[in-house]
C-alpha cells in the first residue's frame, strides 16, 4: 500500500513538472538578439535530454516501488547485473553529454569566441552600488581616461572624468539609460567601481559579471526595438534587488535623436 501511494505521488509530481515545462508556465521571454536563438536551441535540446532522463528515472523508480512491495517468494536480479547499467551510462549518457558539449560550444562560441565587429558601437558601462551608468564616446569617437579618485556623485562625475584637462573626456556622453540602435553590432566594456555586479538582460540572452579590477568586453546585436530591463544578478549589497537600468533598442533615427538630446544635456 505504502509503495503504491509512493509510486502514485512520484508519478503525479512528474506529470505536473512535465506539464509546467511543456506548457511553458514559466519560460524565457522572446529573444531579441542575433546570438540568442542558438542559446535557446541549446536550452531546448538540453531540456529534451534532461527531461527524458527525469521522466524515465521517476517512472522506473515508481514502477519498481509499485511492483515489488511486500514479501514475495522469489527474488530476482535484473538480467546481466550492473553491466548494462554501466554501459548505458557510459555510452548513452556519454554520447549525450559529448553531443551537448559539441553543440553547446558553438552557441557559447558565437557569443564569446568571435571578435566583435570592428564597426561596433562602443559603449562603456560602469556599475556601482546600486546603479549603472553608460558612457558614449561623443563626436571624437574616443573615451576620456578614467580617474577613480575624481568620482563624485554630488557633481554627477560618475566615471571620474577629468573634463577640465582631458579633451577626450569633454565630449563623453554619460547616461543612466542604455540606448542602442536596432540591428547594429554593439560592444560594451564592463567595469565596476566598487564590488561585483552583473549585467543581465534576459531578452538579449546576455549575462556577464562586472568584476572589480577587470574591464570585460561583451558584444551583441539586438534585433527588435523595445524597452527592456537590465538587472543586477551578482550580490552587491543591500540595494541589490533594486539595482537596475533600462535598455532601449531604438531605430537608427530615434537613436541619433536620443544621443543628440543626451549630448545637449551634459
Amino acid at each position: 500500500m505504502v509503495g503504491k501511494v509512493f509510486a502514485v505521488v512520484v508519478i503525479l509530481i512528474t506529470l505536473v513538472t512535465a506539464y509546467c515545462v511543456i506548457a511553458h508556465v514559466w519560460w524565457m521571454p522572446v529573444d531579441i538578439s542575433v546570438h540568442g536563438p542558438k542559446i535557446d536551441h541549446q536550452i531546448e535540446e538540453t531540456m529534451l535530454a534532461a527531461g527524458v532522463l527525469f521522466v524515465a528515472g521517476q517512472i522506473v523508480l515508481a514502477a519498481f516501488v509499485f511492483l515489488y512491495g511486500g514479501a514475495r517468494n522469489k527474488l530476482r536480479q535484473i538480467p546481466g547485473g550492473a553491466k548494462p547499467l554501466v554501459i548505458f551510462a557510459f555510452v548513452i549518457v556519454g554520447a549525450e553529454v559529448l553531443a551537448l558539449s559539441a553543440i553547446g560550444s558553438k552557441a557559447w562560441g558565437a557569443v564569446y569566441f568571435e571578435a566583435p565587429d570592428p564597426g561596433s558601437i562602443h559603449i562603456d558601462v560602469q556599475a556601482g552600488q546600486f546603479a549603472y551608468y553608460f558612457r558614449y564616446p561623443g563626436p571624437d569617437g574616443t573615451f576620456g581616461a578614467l580617474h577613480p579618485e575624481l568620482i563624485n556623485e554630488g557633481t554627477s562625475n560618475f566615471f571620474g572624468l577629468d573634463t577640465d584637462h582631458d579633451p577626450d573626456a569633454k565630449d563623453d556622453i554619460v547616461t543612466a539609460e542604455l540606448a542602442i540602435p536596432v540591428n547594429k553590432p554593439i560592444l560594451l566594456t564592463l567595469h565596476s567601481k566598487d564590488v561585483g555586479h552583473s549585467f543581465d538582460v534576459r531578452e538579449l540572452r546576455v549575462q556577464q559579471d562586472f568584476v572589480p579590477g577587470l574591464v570585460i568586453p561583451i558584444h551583441f546585436t539586438a534585433t527588435q526595438t523595445g524597452r527592456y530591463e537590465i538587472v543586477c544578478t551578482q550580490l552587491c549589497g543591500l540595494g541589490h534587488y533594486n539595482m537596475k537600468a533600462y535598455l532601449s533598442v531604438l531605430s537608427q533615427a530615434d537613436y541619433d535623436e536620443w544621443l543628440k538630446k543626451q549630448a545637449a544635456m551634459q
Partner: protein
C-alpha cells in the same frame, strides 16, 4: 610493514562523572550524538531563517514575530530591511551548508557508526575527535554571535565573494565584525573538518577487525571514507582562503581587492588584488564541498536500502563504490563551472564544462544502481526506506538540472536565477537531508535503544516529500522566467508576475517546516517513551547490529569480532550477519 608495532588502540577506561561522560567525552558515540544534536539545533535555526525570508518575499509588509526583538535595527517592528534579508540569507546558507549538511551525515553518523562498522572500540584518535567537535561548536557559536553584534550578520552570501566581503564596513551594513566573525567561524569549521577527516581515514584503514577487507566494508563506511579524503583536500584550501580574507579585512592586505575602488566617493587604499583569485580558491573548495555533502548520503542510502529490499545492490559493493570514488575525484576539476559569467577566459569555460558534464556519468550509474536494485525485490516500507526512496527521486530531480548549469551557453541564461537555487537545494540540500532522515530513523534504535514511532515517521515523510517538491520544483522552474536569486523584494517588472508562485512556495515552506516539528516530537518522545529496541530490529547484517542497543562503552563488550562476509548478505527473509561464519546466502 608487517613488523610495525601495533599497540592497543583506543583502550581508554570508561569515563567517570557527568562532564567526562556527556560533555568532554572522548567516546565516539557521545561525540556522534553531540554532532547530531548540534546539527539539529542548527537545522531549526536555519529553517527559521528561511521561514522569515520566504514570508518577507511573499508578503513584504507582514510583521514577523520575534524578528523585531532579535534585531530592532534589521527588522524594525518585525518588517525586515533589505540588508537584513541578505544577512538572514547569508546565515541560512552558512549554517545549513556547514553546520547541518556537512556536519550531520558525515561527522554525526560517521562518528557514531564508523568505528562500530569496522569493529573497533573507538576512533583512532579519540581526543582529537573530541577537539573536532568542540572546535565545530565554537565555530557555530561564532556564527550565531553575528546575530547579536550591533552590526548584524554579514550580507555577502555563504560564498562571501570579494571584494564585497573583503573591503570592510564601507561596503554596507553587516560587513564589519559580522564578516570577521564569519571568516573565523568558517576557519574553525575547516580545522575541525580536517581533524575529523584525518581521524576517519586512519580509523577506516587502521582499526578494521579481522577479516574486514576493504571489499567487505559497509557501504556507509565507504561513503564516509571517500568523503573524508575529499574533505581533507578541500577544507585544506578553504582554511587559507578564510585566513587571507581575514587578512584583507584586518591586516590591510589586498589579496582579493583590486585598486581603484570607490565607495561613497572615497578611493580605497588597496591595489593589485584579484576578486577572481577568491572565486578560484573558494570554488576549488566549494565544488568538492557539495560532494562532501552528498557522498555520505550516497553511502547511507546504499547502506540502508539492501536491508529493506532484502537483496544486495546491483553490482555489489564495487559499482556503487567506484562511482563514488569517480565522483569524488572529478569534483576537484570542475570548480570553474561556477564562474562561467565571471570574466574567466571563455576557453577555460569549455575546459571546465566537459568534466562537469562527465561527472554526471558516475552519478547516473549510482542512481541506476539504486533504482534497478528495486527490481524483483521484497521491499519493506519502513520509514528509513521511504526516505531513501525519496532521496533517489529528489536526487534525480535535482541532478538533471546539472545538465543546464554545466554548459556555459545555457548557464549564461540560468546563472544566478532561482533555477540554480532550486537545483542545489534538490541535489545537496534535500538529498542530503533525506539521507540524514533515513539514517536517523534507521540508526535511532541503535543509538538510543528505543524505536521511533513509525506512524509519525511516515506522516513526517509524506508532508516533507510533497512539500519540498512544491517549494523547490517551483523554484527551479521559475528560473526559466529569469527570476533572480538573492533579491530581497520582487520589484522588477518581470519579477512581479512571479509573486503568486512565490506565495505558493512560502505557504509550502511554512507547512513543510511545520512538519519538521513532528519529527522533533517523534525523536524526543521516542527517546524516552519509545518501544524498547531489540539488538537488530531491521534484520540487518552489519556490525552495528551485532551488539546491544545502545552499544556498550567499548562497542562490543570486549568481544573480538571476525568478519566473514560482505555487508549485503540478504536473500529475502534470510540474511547472514557479517560476523557469522555461516555460509553466504547472497554470494557477496
Amino acid at each position: 610493514m608487517a613488523q610495525t608495532s601495533v599497540r592497543a588502540v583506543a583502550h581508554h577506561a570508561p569515563p567517570q562523572g557527568f562532564v567526562r561522560k556527556y560533555i568532554f567525552s572522548v567516546d565516539h558515540k557521545v561525540i556522534g550524538i553531540q554532532y547530531l544534536t548540534l546539527s539539529l539545533v542548527a537545522a531549526f535555526v536555519g529553517m527559521a531563517l528561511s521561514w522569515a525570508m520566504r514570508v518577507h518575499l511573499a508578503w513584504p509588509d507582514v510583521r514577523i514575530p520575534l524578528l523585531g526583538w532579535l534585531s530592532p535595527a534589521g527588522a524594525p517592528g518585525g518588517v525586515m530591511t533589505p540588508e537584513y534579508y541578505l544577512s538572514l540569507m547569508t546565515m541560512h546558507g552558512t549554517i545549513m551548508a556547514f553546520f547541518v549538511l556537512t556536519a550531520a551525515p558525515f561527522a554525526g553518523f560517521g562518528n557514531f557508526m564508523l568505528p562500530i562498522h569496522v569493529g573497533a572500540a573507538d576512533m583512532a584518535f579519540p581526543r582529537l575527535n573530541m577537539s573536532s567537535f568542540w572546535v565545530t561548536f565554537v565555530g557555530f557559536l561564532l556564527a550565531c554571535a553575528t546575530f547579536f553584534i550591533p552590526d548584524g550578520p554579514p550580507l555577502s552570501g555563504w560564498t562571501a565573494y570579494a571584494p564585497l566581503s573583503a573591503v570592510g564596513p564601507v561596503a554596507g551594513p553587516g560587513q564589519g565584525w559580522g564578516q570577521n566573525l564569519w571568516g573565523l567561524s568558517i576557519a574553525m569549521f575547516c580545522i575541525a573538518s580536517l581533524l575529523g577527516a584525518l581521524n576517519f581515514i586512519v580509523t577506516t584503514l587502521d582499526l578494521r577487525t579481522k577479516g574486514l577487507k576493504l571489499s567487505r566494508l559497509p557501504l556507509a563506511t565507504w561513503g564516509w571514507f571517500i568523503d573524508a579524503w575529499v574533505s581533507l583536500l578541500a577544507f585544506a584550501v578553504l582554511l587559507p582562503t578564510c585566513l587571507l580574507l581575514v587578512l584583507d579585512r584586518l591586516g590591510g592586505t589586498s589579496f582579493f581587492i583590486p585598486g581603484g575602488l570607490v565607495f561613497n566617493d572615497q578611493l580605497q587604499p588597496h591595489s593589485g588584488g584579484s576578486p577572481l583569485l577568491f572565486q578560484h580558491l573558494f570554488w576549488f573548495f566549494g565544488h568538492p564541498e557539495v560532494y562532501i555533502i552528498i557522498l555520505p548520503a550516497f553511502g547511507i542510502v546504499s547502506h540502508i536500502m539492501p536491508t529493506f529490499i532484502r537483496k544486495p545492490l546491483v553490482g555489489g559493493w564495487k559499482v556503487i563504490t567506484f562511482s563514488e570514488i569517480a565522483v569524488g575525484t572529478l569534483s576537484f576539476v570542475v570548480w570553474g563551472h561556477h564562474m562561467f559569467v565571471s570574466g574567466m577566459s571563455p576557453y577555460m569555460a569549455m575546459v571546465f564544462s566537459v568534466p562537469t558534464l562527465f561527472i554526471t556519468i558516475p552519478s547516473i550509474i549510482a542512481v541506476l544502481v539504486w533504482v534497478f536494485s528495486l527490481y524483483g525485490a521484497n521491499i519493506r516500507f519502513a520509514t528509513p526506506l521511504l526516505y531513501s526512496l525519496g532521496f533517489i527521486s529528489l536526487f534525480i530531480s535535482g541532478g538533471i538540472g546539472g545538465f543546464f548549469l554545466a554548459q556555459p551557453s545555457t548557464d549564461s541564461y540560468l546563472h544566478a536565477t532561482s533555477f540554480v537555487v532550486g537545483h542545489f537545494h534538490f541535489t545537496m540540500g534535500l538529498s542530503a537531508i533525506f539521507a540524514t532522515f533515513a539514517g536517523f530513523y534507521y540508526w535511532f534504535p541503535k543509538m538510543f535503544g528505543r524505536m521511533m514511532n513509525e506512524k509519525l515517521g511516515k506522516l513526517h515523510f509524506w508532508i516533507t516529500f510533497v512539500g519540498v517538491y512544491c517549494i523547490f520544483m517551483t523554484m527551479q522552474l521559475t528560473g526559466f522566467a529569469g527570476a533572480v536569486r538573492r533579491y530581497s523584494a520582487l520589484v522588477d517588472d518581470f519579477m512581479i508576475p512571479l509573486i503568486p508562485a512565490n506565495r505558493f512556495m512560502t505557504v509550502a515552506a511554512l507547512l513543510t517546516g511545520a512538519a519538521q516539528f513532528i519529527f522533533l516530537y517523534n525523536a524526543i518522545w521516542s527517546r524516552f517513551k519509545g518501544r524498547k529496541a531489540p539488538d537488530n530490529p531491521w534484520g540487518a547484517t552489519t556490525l552495528e547490529w551485532d551488539t546491544t542497543s545502545p552499544p556498550p562503552f567499548d562497542n562490543f563488550g570486549g568481544r573480538q569480532l571476525t568478519v566473514y562476509h560482505g555487508p549485503m548478505e540478504y536473500d529475502g527473509e534470510a540474511s547472514v550477519m557479517q560476523t557469522s561464519p555461516e555460509a553466504s546466502v547472497a554470494g557477496t
